[in-house]
Symmetry: D2
Subunit: 384 residues, 4 copies
C-alpha cells in the first residue's frame, strides 16, 4: 500500500528547505504525496510560494488562507490558531500516514499540533539546531511532538537525542537545501547578469564587479528594535563602495517596519547602486552566493548553504546563535563599525572551500528510504 | 509595581491542580491575579469549573467557549486552535507579566503558544513527569516553551533539566494539590456519609462498609479501545462484592463512549451497590481516598494525592507510566483477573503510611515567593 | 458543462427538508453534486445525519466539525463564525456554480455569507415564511443574500417578492419534504409497530391504540423559559390517558435543559406509556403522523407535512406564528388546560383531508429544471 | 440605569460615518458607551482608525485583529467568520443593551449576527439605500436583523419599511457624516494648502489653482476588472491639465491591484502634478470637497457629503447605483471619453447650492434621543 505523506508548507523558506524532498517523493510510485500550502505560502505578498510550486511541477492539494493581518506577536499567535483549525479539517479529509513538517517558524506549530493530536506520525526536518529567536522554542517543542527526526548536522542529531528522543528515529540526513544547491551549481551556467536585472527594482547590477548581499529578518523577541537594527546595517553597507542587493524580510512580526525602511532608502539614495528583491529566485540566489564578495545579515542560508558553497558571510546579531557553522562565517554584534570591518575582512579573504557539515546533496533520497521503513510508535515516550 | 499574573484554567482537573496557588495569589497585595477559564472549564457538562471557582471566592476575568463538539482527535485539535485565537486576544487585552499554565491537557497548548509568541513569561506547573498518553508530548513541549518550571517531584526536576532547561529556573515545589489535601485532612470531619449520598446518582453508599473507587480516563492514542477497556475493568470490579463509586471521565476524545457504558451498567445492574459521580467534590474525593479500600483506574490522583494520603491504588494501563510513585501503587495491565487480584491484594494490605515525594502541602507559598523574584529571559535558549 | 451544485447541510432537519432534491440531483447526468455536512449534522449526538445520508446513498464531500459546546446564544453565534471560516475554505476548493442552502437555522448563515461574499449563486429553499423565533430574521436575511428562491407555498412567494426580490427568480415549487412524504405513504406498509419499538427508549408502544406525539423545540429568544414551557406541556399530556411519543429537541440554545426534563420524566414516571426518540427515522415519523391521534408541540412538520397528510395538530406558542396553515392545526398558548382541551378536540375530530398548500410531491424535479435554466446576475439589486 | 451601547467599528469609513454619534454618546451621562474596533480599523495599513479615535478622545474598549490576509473574496468571508467568533466573546463580556452597527461593509455582518443571535437590540445606521455592489445584499440583510433603523434619507426610509420592518422603528435622522461636515465648514479656516502638503506623497498641490480628486474603490462583484477600470479613469484624468489628488482604495477584495497601479503611475509620470493620500484626514477631505473643481470616482462621499457641500461630482460605474442624489452628480459609465467630458462639464458648471437630502447636521442628537426611548421587541417579525 502506498504511504500517504502530507507535506505542509507555510512559507517560501519552508519550500526552499524541502523542495528536493517533495520533488523526489512526487516521483516515487509507493508514495502518495499531498502538498498543503497555508499562511504566507499562499500570498503573493510573500512570494506566491504555491504558484512557484505549481511552476516547479508540484501541485498543491490545498491552499488555505490563515494569515491574520497585523504583523505583530498577537497576530502570529492567532494565525497559528487559525492554521490549526483548518489543518485539522485538512488532515481529517486527507488521512495521511505521515505529516511532514519543516523547520521552526511560528506556523509550524499549526501542523505539528493538528497531526500530533490526531495520532498521525510526524516527520520533522531541521530539528535540534539552536538559534536566538522565538524559533528556538518552536523547534524544540516540535521535536517533542515529532516521531521521525531528519536533522541536518551532527550537532543537531546529538541535541535531539539529548532532548529525550529515541535515537533510533533521529537521522542525520543533511539539509535538503543542499540537494538543490548541488544541483544548481552543477547545472549549466545561465546568464545571471541578465536574469537578475529583469526583476526586482532599483539600479542595474554588474555582477562582474564586486557586490554585497543583505538579507536580514526581524527577530521576534527583540521586536521593537528591528527597524533600528536594520538602519544601522544599511548605513554600514552604504558607507562602502560596493554594489548592494537587498532581500525583502519574511513575514514575521516586525517585517512591515523593515519594509518601509527599504522603501525609504530607495527614495532617498536614488543614485546608489542598489537593487531590491522581494522574492529572489532561489536559483539566482544560490548563484549569487557563489560569486558575491560577502553575504550580510542574519539569514540561515549563510550558515547552511554558505558552508557548502564557501560564501564569505557576516552574520549579525542573535538570530543564528548556536547554529553549527563552517569557517566561512564571521559573527558580529549590531555595530556599524564592526559590521563594516567584518565585511571588509571577508572581501579580502575571498571564497572559502566547500564544507559538508550540512550535507552532501543527497538528503531527499535518504529521507524517502527512511520514510518507507521507519515505524515509530504513535504514542511517544521520553527516553529518560 | 504589582505582578500581573494570568492563570489559565481549561478543565476541572486543571483547577484542582492549582487551586491552592490561586487562593494564595489572590490574597497577595503585590499580585494582580486574572483567572481565565476556557474549554471544558466553562461547561456545566464537565463540572462547571468556573461556577465552582466563584463559589470558592475566585472571580474569573474571562470565560470563553472554545470546545468544539465531537469528542474526537479532530475536535481536540480544532478546539486547541480556537482557544489559541481567543487567548491571544485575551492576553492582548490583559497584558500579563506572567501566564501560569497547568499540567498537560491538550488545551494547555492554546495558552502556552499564545503566551510564548506574545513574549510573555510562562510559568508551568507539573512539567517533567512521564505518562503514557498524548499528554506526554504536550507536557514536554510545554516545558520547551515555558520559562519558569514548578515541578512536583525530584524525578520531574531532573527530567526538565535534562530537557535542556536552565536549572536556575526549575523549582521542585511539590504538587499544589497536596496543599489542598493537607488542608482537607487537617480540617474538621464532615459527615461524609451523608454528603456523598446527596449528589451523584445510584445506590446509597455506606462508607462504614468497604468500598472501591473507579476513576478511568480515556487514553487518546489508544482511542479505539477505551470502551472495551472500560468494560473489562467494570466487569472485574462488579465481580467483587464491594460497594463501588464510579467517577465520570474527563472530556478527552473517547469519553462519550465510556459515558454510555456507565449509563448502560446503571440500567442493567440496578441492584448493584453502585454510585456514579459526574463531578465529585474534590473535598469529598480526598476524604474518600482517605478511607477507601482501593482506588482503581488510571487517574493521576492515585499516584500523587494517594502517596501523601496513603491510599491503596491499582493503576491500570499505560496512562500513568513513568510517573514517580510511592509504595501505595500496584500496576496492572488491562486484564480482568489481574485487576481483580491486585484489588484483592490492596484490600488485604490496607492503608499505607504518608509519603512526601509529591510535596508537603506548602507549594502555593513556595510558588509565590519564586514568582516575585525569578526573572528569566523571555528569549529562551537550550542549555546544550 | 456540468453544473456544480454544492448542498450544505447543517442539521438533521435540513437534510429532511432537502433529501428528495439531493437524491434527484445525484441522479442527473448534468449535475455534479457535492454535499457538505457541518454543525450538528456531523454529530452522533444530534442524529448522525452524515451517517444517515451515506446509508441513503448520498456520499458527503466534506464533514466538518464546527459546533462549539455550550448550547447557548454565545456558542450559536461562535459556531456560525467557525462554520463561515471553514465553508469559505470549502467553497474555495470545490468551486461550485451554485450553493444550495436550506431553511433558516442559525448555521445557515455560515453557508449563505460564504457563498455570497465569494460571488457564488445561492439557491435557497423555504424562504418567505414567517415564524416567531430568531429563525425569522435569519430566513429573511438569507433571502436578501440568495439569488434563486425555492419557496414552499404561495404565501411565502408573495412575501419574498415583497422583500424586493426579482419575481423572475422566485419559484413556488412546494416543499421538498412533501416529495418524501408522498413517496413514503405510497410505498408498501412496513411493520411500524415492530420497528418503532426497536429503537428509542421507554415503554413499548401499541400503535393500534391511540397515541400522541410531542415534538417541541427550544425558542431562542424566549430562551430562559424553555424548560418551564416544556414542563407545562408535558404535564398537560401526562394528565391524559394516551400513549405518548416524545421527540428529542434540536441543538438550538436551550435544548440541554429540555433534555434533562425528558430524562427526569422518564425516571420519575416509569410506568407511564412513554417512549422517547432521540432521532426518529423520518419514515417512521411520517407513518406515525399518518395515524397519530394528535401531534403536539411547535414543530414545523405539523403545519407542513401535517397539511398534506391530514394530521391533527396542536401547535403551541410563537415558534410557528405566521406560517401558512391548513385546517388541520389548532393553535394554543402555553397553558396546561388549553393544551389539554385542544388535544381532546383534535382527538375527537380525527384525521383531516389532504391539502396541497405545501406542494404535491414533485418539488425535486421542479427544482432541478429551474437550476438548469435560471441565470440570475450574481450582483443583486433590490427591486424598489 | 445607564444604557450600555456598544459601537462596533470595522473600518475607517465606518468611523467617519458614526463619529459625531460616538462623540455625542460619550458625553451623555446616561449612556455607557463601549467602542470595539476590529478588521481594518485596527491596522495601520488601512488608516489606523483606532489610533485616530483615541486622538479624537474616543477610547476603545477592545481592538481585535480579525482581518485575514489575501485581499480576495475568500478572505473577506473568512475574516467575517473570525470577526463573528471574537465579537461573540466580546458581547458576552460587555453585555450591551444595544449594539450599534454602521453601514454595509462585509465585516458588518460579524457584529450583526453576533448581536442578533445573542438577543441584543441592534441599531443600524445607513440602511435602506441602494448600491451596485456586494454591499447591497449586506445592507438589506443587516436591516432584516436590526431592530432600530437610523436611515439617512427619505428614499431609504421608504425602502426599509417596504422590506417589512416596523415603521415605528425606522427613523430618518439624516447622515451623521453631515454633522461633521457642518461642523468643519462652520469652523475657522485652517491653512489647507500647507496642511495638505505635509503628508501623502507626490507633487506639492497649489489649491488656488484648479484640482480634481479621484476616489475609486474596488467593486467586489466585478472583482476581476478593477485594475482595468482604474487605469481607464486615470488615463482620462491624466489627459486633462489639472492637478490631481488620488485617494487610496479601502480594503475590499481588489484593492491590492489598484494600489499597484497607483504606485506604477507615480513612478512613470513623475513630473505630473499628482499627490497620493493613503489616509487623508477627513477634515482636509471635506475642505477639499468644498473647493475642488470636481470629485471623480465611485465614493459615496460625493453623493452624500457632496450634496450638502455642493461639490461637483462625476460618479463612475455601478457602485453608487440607486443612491438618492442631489443635482451635483453626473453619472457616467467606464469610458475614457465620457469621463473626460463629464469632468469638463462639472468644471464649467462650478459649485452647486447646498441640499439637505442627507441631513442638516443634527443626526447625532436625534439618534441619542431615540436610543433612550425606543423599545423594540428583541424577537422581530416581518410586517406582512
Amino acid at each position: 500500500m502506498k504511504k500517504r505523506v502530507c507535506a505542509v508548507i507555510g512559507s517560501r523558506a519552508n519550500y526552499a528547505s524541502i523542495k528536493s524532498v517533495l520533488q523526489s517523493l512526487k516521483e516515487e510510485k509507493n508514495c502518495d504525496l499531498s502538498i498543503v500550502c497555508f499562511s504566507s505560502a499562499v500570498l503573493d505578498k510573500y512570494g506566491a510560494t504555491s504558484t512557484l510550486m505549481r511552476r516547479d511541477g508540484l501541485e498543491t492539494a490545498k491552499e488555505i488562507y490563515t494569515l491574520i493581518e497585523g504583523d505583530n506577536p498577537v497576530t502570529m499567535a492567532k494565525s497559528t490558531g487559525l492554521g490549526l483549525i483548518e489543518l485539522s479539517s485538512t488532515f481529517q479529509e486527507l488521512k495521511p500516514n505521515i505529516v511532514l513538517v519543516v523547520g521552526d517558524r511560528y506556523e509550524t506549530m499549526s501542523a505539528t499540533i493538528a497531526a500530533s493530536y490526531m495520532n498521525i506520525i510526524i516527520a520533522h526536518t531541521m530539528g535540534g539546531e539552536v538559534t536566538g529567536t522565538i524559533d528556538e522554542s518552536i523547534r524544540h517543542a516540535t521535536t517533542k511532538f515529532a516521531h521521525i527526526h531528519f536533522v541536518a548536522c551532527e550537532d543537531a542529531r546529538e541535541r535531539v537525542v539529548k532532548l529525550g528522543e529515541n535515537p533510533e528515529y533521529v537521522y542525520n540526513v543533511g539539509c535538503p537545501r543542499i540537494d538543490i544547491v548541488k544541483n544548481i551549481l552543477s547545472s549549466q551556467e545561465i546568464n545571471l547578469d541578465r536574469d537578475i536585472n529583469t526583476y526586482g527594482v532599483g539600479a542595474l547590477m554588474d555582477l562582474r564587479k564586486p557586490f554585497l548581499i543583505l538579507s536580514y529578518h526581524p527577530v521576534t523577541t527583540e521586536y521593537s528594535d528591528n527597524a533600528l537594527v536594520y538602519s544601522i546595517i544599511l548605513e554600514a553597507l552604504l558607507s562602502m563602495e560596493y554594489q548592494l542587493i537587498l532581500l525583502w524580510p519574511n513575514s514575521d512580526a516586525g517585517s512591515d517596519k523593515i519594509s518601509s525602511i527599504i522603501r525609504g532608502t530607495r527614495e532617498k539614495d536614488k543614485h546608489r547602486s542598489l537593487r531590491v528583491f522581494k522574492n529572489i529566485k532561489f536559483e539566482d540566489y544560490i548563484r549569487l552566493l557563489n560569486i558575491t564578495q560577502c553575504l550580510v545579515g542574519n539569514s540561515s542560508s549563510g550558515i547552511r548553504e554558505g558552508a557548502y558553497i564557501g560564501t564569505p558571510v557576516v552574520n549579525i546579531g542573535s538570530r543564528q546563535n548556536g547554529r553549527q557553522r563552517g569557517n566561512n562565517v564571521i559573527d558580529v554584534v549590531v555595530n556599524k563599525e564592526q559590521i563594516a570591518m567584518a565585511v571588509a575582512k571577508q572581501i579580502e579573504h575571498g571564497k572559502y572551500p566547500s564544507c559538508e557539515i550540512y550535507g552532501d546533496g543527497t538528503s531527499a533520497e535518504k529521507i524517502w528510504k527512511i520514510l518507507q521503513i521507519a515505524n515509530p510508535p504513535v504514542q511517544k515516550r521520553i527516553c529518560y
